[in-house]
């Protein structure tokens, strides 16, 4: 069981604030990207990656982390895996990975070695690593692609961007865990618009058929897709009924409430015999007033003025 107390919640809240700042800075700097769905998913990713993120750290406290992972060793075989199926929210994932330490120079170089000379050279030349790397989002020759690339960035478990495929990739990893009698879990975040994809339902069907209780999907239910509100573009409700009919355990939570997020993740890990979907109700653009619930900020970078306003709002009392 994961354990949390007020202190942990407070520290996660602070982390999330920092991640939101990274996200906005990254996208502003790149001049393109997807702020809306990146911001709605920050709290969930923060909870996953920062609730006691080292196995050893937890063991010491006799606590179990939600997600076992080690930024110094992204290839650790027994790690839990996180897949961002809605790959356009990459900035959030990059922010979390950077903050967790996946982009330290040594880790980066080890990961890139012999794989891509251009990038390797840049990083060796101290062009960018660690948090700095975030400012090279979408830049030619740097690892942080517009959509996550598992061969260019340490900590990325699947290359995504074409919606609807990440859940199936997670399903494959979950099947591998079962075959290898490993205990790791696979967490996959999907978008609500992504639920339109038939492939999601194919995977919904097979994951329950194969009884993948080590697969936990988290739906970023921010009610918007690219062209507008999901219920106007392609109605999805009743979502829990759909997934239950497909054989999943379903939990509904407020995706911006750390207690609910942690409890849900914890419960999901205990469910036996079937996969779990956590329907996380979120606000698209969460944290930046004029981006909240705004379709226009699905895939558009803020201009200078908007950027300043956003940073002002996000810095607030966190002051990172």
């Amino acid at each position: 069981m994961a354990v949390y107390d007020e202190e942990l919640i407070e520290s996660l809240t602070q982390k999330a604030k920092i991640i939101r700042q990274y996200v906005v800075k990254m996208i502003y700097n790149a001049g393109s990207g997807h702020p809306g769905g990146s911001l709605s998913s920050v709290d969930i990713l923060t909870a996953l990656y920062f609730h006691k993120f080292l196995d050893k750290e937890c063991k010491k406290d006799n606590k179990e982390p939600i997600m076992n992972h080690d930024p110094k060793n992204p290839g650790w075989e027994d790690r839990d895996r996180f897949i961002l199926s809605k790959g356009h929210s990459a900035p959030t994932l990059y922010g979390v990975l950077a903050e967790a330490g996946y982009f330290e120079k040594k880790v980066l170089l080890a990961f890139l070695k012999d794989k891509n000379d251009e990038m390797y050279e840049r990083i060796k030349e101290e062009k960018a690593f660690g948090i700095d790397l975030l400012m090279y989002l979408r830049r030619l020759g740097f690892p942080l692609q517009g959509h996550p690339d598992m061969n260019k960035t340490p900590g990325i478990e699947a290359s995504t961007g074409s919606e609807g495929q990440g859940l199936a990739i997670g399903c494959g990893q979950a099947m591998a865990a079962k075959l290898d009698r490993k205990l790791y879990h696979i967490f996959v975040m999907i978008g609500d618009g992504e639920m339109d994809c038939g492939q999601i339902w194919e995977t919904a069907m097979s994951a329950s058929h194969f009884k993948l209780d080590n697969l936990i999907a988290i739906l970023d239910r921010n009610k918007l897709q690219l062209d507008g509100p999901t219920e106007q573009i392609m109605s999805l409700e009743p979502i829990p009924d759909k997934w239950q009919a497909f054989g999943w355990h379903v939990i509904e939570i407020d995706g911006h409430n750390f207690k609910e997020i942690l409890t849900a993740l914890d419960t999901a890990k205990e469910v036996k015999g079937k996969p779990t979907l956590i329907v996380a109700h979120t606000v698209k653009g969460k944290g930046v007033s004029f981006m909240e619930g705004a379709v226009g900020f699905h895939g558009k970078a803020p201009d200078e003025e908007q950027f300043k306003q956003a940073m002002k709002e996000l810095e607030g009392d966190a002051g990172a």
């Binding site: 790149a30 001049g31 979408r138 038939g198 897709q225 392609m234």
Partner: protein, 356 residues
């Protein structure tokens, strides 16, 4: 140095305008989209004709087969999404629901090629032309600019079968004019020339024009052709270009191993072989970056075309010297009479059959 181009315009906007005009003229026009109505600009049609525009959410396969059903019931259907999701994601649906029964569906995609830029490899399809070319019954059109886009859309609407139209994300220089004719299957001559022919498609046409200017400075007179239909390809203009200029360079924002250049190679090989060089994207996935940076890195610049032109010109030179002299000698041989020749080939045959 580039040709001064009067204006840079969006193909997507031209598409949107053409659709709206078509919608006003024809009741049978129906438009489908898959959660990219704002990006592909069919939103404008939707604003004027909400009842004839349908958004399918992120369900491209369903959209394609539904388009087939609408067409089977008499509609002229335009289907739009990004190139990567309007081809590879739905290849089987296009194949089975649309191309095989030859239904009246127009697949108009935007954001093709690497100039998509920041989104990176997952969104930069450089294979779509190949995918659509290899489908029987499909027409493949890649307009060079906004003006031509508008005409291509209207021509597609007038043709009663499946058509693929490939548009880009970025604004492109306007190089064709309102009064140019557009016909599916007909390429257009943008600039006459006799030393070498540069054949471009899509955004590469304007790059070819720029390359022609550079070549001119070096005393090379380049012909430029806009190959806006890739399937069926305009064999006549190709044959003429091969015959009259004796050297060909092709340029496309697409996997160079299998695209327009390949289709042209096939024609040139059959009709009239001349030195040829294909300019295009190598057989690798793209990456994030700015359009310009990517075009440079992946070999789509004026310089790449100029270099290719020099390459083919060198080969042409060698070949034409050969041909000149051989012609002379053939005449010479002919004079010596055919008798001897016939004898020789007969004896050769005998010899070779003995061997086995």
């Amino acid at each position: 140095m580039p040709v001064p181009k009067e204006k840079v315009e969006s193909q997507r906007k031209a598409y949107a305008l053409a659709l709206v005009e078509l919608g006003r003229e024809r009741n049978d026009i129906v438009v489908l989209n898959a959660d990219l109505a704002s990006s592909t600009k069919t939103l404008e049609f939707s604003n004027e004709f909400p009842e004839r525009h349908f958004n399918f959410g992120i369900a491209e396969q369903n959209m394609m087969s539904t388009a087939a059903g609408l067409a089977a019931a008499g509609k002229t259907v335009f289907v739009s999404t990004f190139a990567v999701f309007g081809t590879g994601r739905v290849y089987d649906q296009i194949r089975q629901s649309i191309a095989y029964p030859k239904l009246n569906v127009k697949i108009v995609v935007t954001h093709a090629g690497i100039t998509v830029g920041g989104d990176g490899a997952t969104h930069q399809i450089t294979e779509d032309i190949a995918l659509m070319m290899v489908l029987p019954n499909m027409k493949v059109i890649v307009p060079a600019d906004a003006v031509e886009t508008s005409k291509a859309i209207k021509a597609a609407a007038d043709y009663g079968g499946p058509v693929y139209v490939r548009l880009g994300r970025a604004e492109v220089p306007s190089i064709t004019s309102e009064k140019d004719q557009f016909e599916i299957g007909k390429a257009t001559l943008l600039r006459n020339g006799k030393d070498v022919t540069l054949i471009g498609t899509g955004i590469m046409v304007s790059v070819c024009l720029d390359a022609a200017e550079v070549l001119k400075k070096k005393g090379i007179d380049a012909r430029v052709i806009n190959m806006s239909t890739i399937k069926p390809i305009d064999e006549d203009i190709l044959e003429k270009a091969a015959r009259e200029t004796g050297a060909i360079v092709t340029a496309e924002e697409h996997n160079v191993e299998m695209g327009m250049g390949t289709a042209i190679s096939m024609v040139i090989a059959e009709k009239k072989h001349v030195p040829m060089k294909r300019v295009g994207i190598p057989d690798v996935f793209g990456e994030s970056g700015s359009s310009d940076e990517l075009m440079k890195k992946y070999g789509l610049t004026v310089e790449d075309i100029v270099k290719a032109a020099h390459n083919v010109l060198k080969r042409k030179d060698k070949l034409s010297r050969l041909q000149r002299v051989s012609k002379k000698l053939i005449k010479h041989e002919r004079k010596k009479g055919n008798k001897k020749d016939t004898k020789r080939s007969k004896s050769q045959k005998r010899k070779s059959s003995k061997k086995r």
